[in-house]
Symmetry: C2
Subunit: 143 residues, 2 copies
């Protein structure tokens, strides 16, 4: 993913400076093959540089507001984040009940199920989140 996005350019388009921490967040999310928790992102940045957690949380919040990343509420207290660039369109997620790891599934034709997911007349639906829960192949092999 990261090889297909110019993060500095993307930040400039948003009117944001390409600071080291912002770039690190985008690069880490760009290289990830699954949705990451804020703490994981923080830990990964810290392998490169010293950074305060508040900085990372504020950047993630800002990116989410700008729709540069998607924040996923997959389980209780922890949010997961993934890049929302043009190369990474919305898609369903799979979360393993055992290891809690999040996989990204292939985008399905969300439009097709859109009409039947309308609520009471008057609601305006903006987007659909689909989560599949189960046991991933890794945990299945263990048990």
């Amino acid at each position: 993913m990261s090889d297909r996005c110019n993060f500095s350019h993307w930040l400039a388009l948003e009117g944001l400076r390409a600071t080291p921490v912002r770039l690190a967040v985008l690069e880490i999310l760009g290289e990830a093959t699954r949705a990451l928790r804020a703490q994981e992102i923080l830990d990964l940045i810290r392998t490169r540089r010293r950074v305060n957690k508040v900085t990372v949380y504020r950047i993630l919040e800002d990116f989410t507001r700008r729709s540069m990343v998607r924040k996923l509420s997959l389980e209780g207290r922890v949010n997961h984040f993934e890049l929302a660039c043009e190369h990474h369109p919305p898609h369903p997620h799979f979360q393993c009940q055992t290891c809690r790891e999040v996989q990204c599934l292939e985008p399905v034709a969300l439009n097709r199920m859109w009409t039947e997911l309308q609520g009471p007349v008057g609601n305006r639906a903006d987007h659909i989140d689909i989560k599949v829960e189960g046991l991933c192949h890794k945990c299945r092999d263990i048990s």
Copy 2:
């Protein structure tokens, strides 16, 4: 919903005593027309009786483990709960981005989209959660 379930009997089937707090939790969830947060359930019980929050959290956790209620992870830090009795089958949810209230949508043919929601070979999918986000009719009228 509550008029269609015999909660005391249900608890007996699960080998649980029909204590006042357990019954109150089930009755409140049974009368609710939307998914409730733990704090809302707690507040509603407290209109009737004195109760410790730990008791309610433990009961909700226990009911969830027994699949008597479903715990929904719809947004960051707060879980929502709904009855999982035979009269209340799994269904998609709508959450308003403004008031954060959760509506229950009509059950759709989840089976139909099951096959296309399979992850990598080897995963075992157990259930699907669908969340629609948007603006509810009440908040739409205000703005």
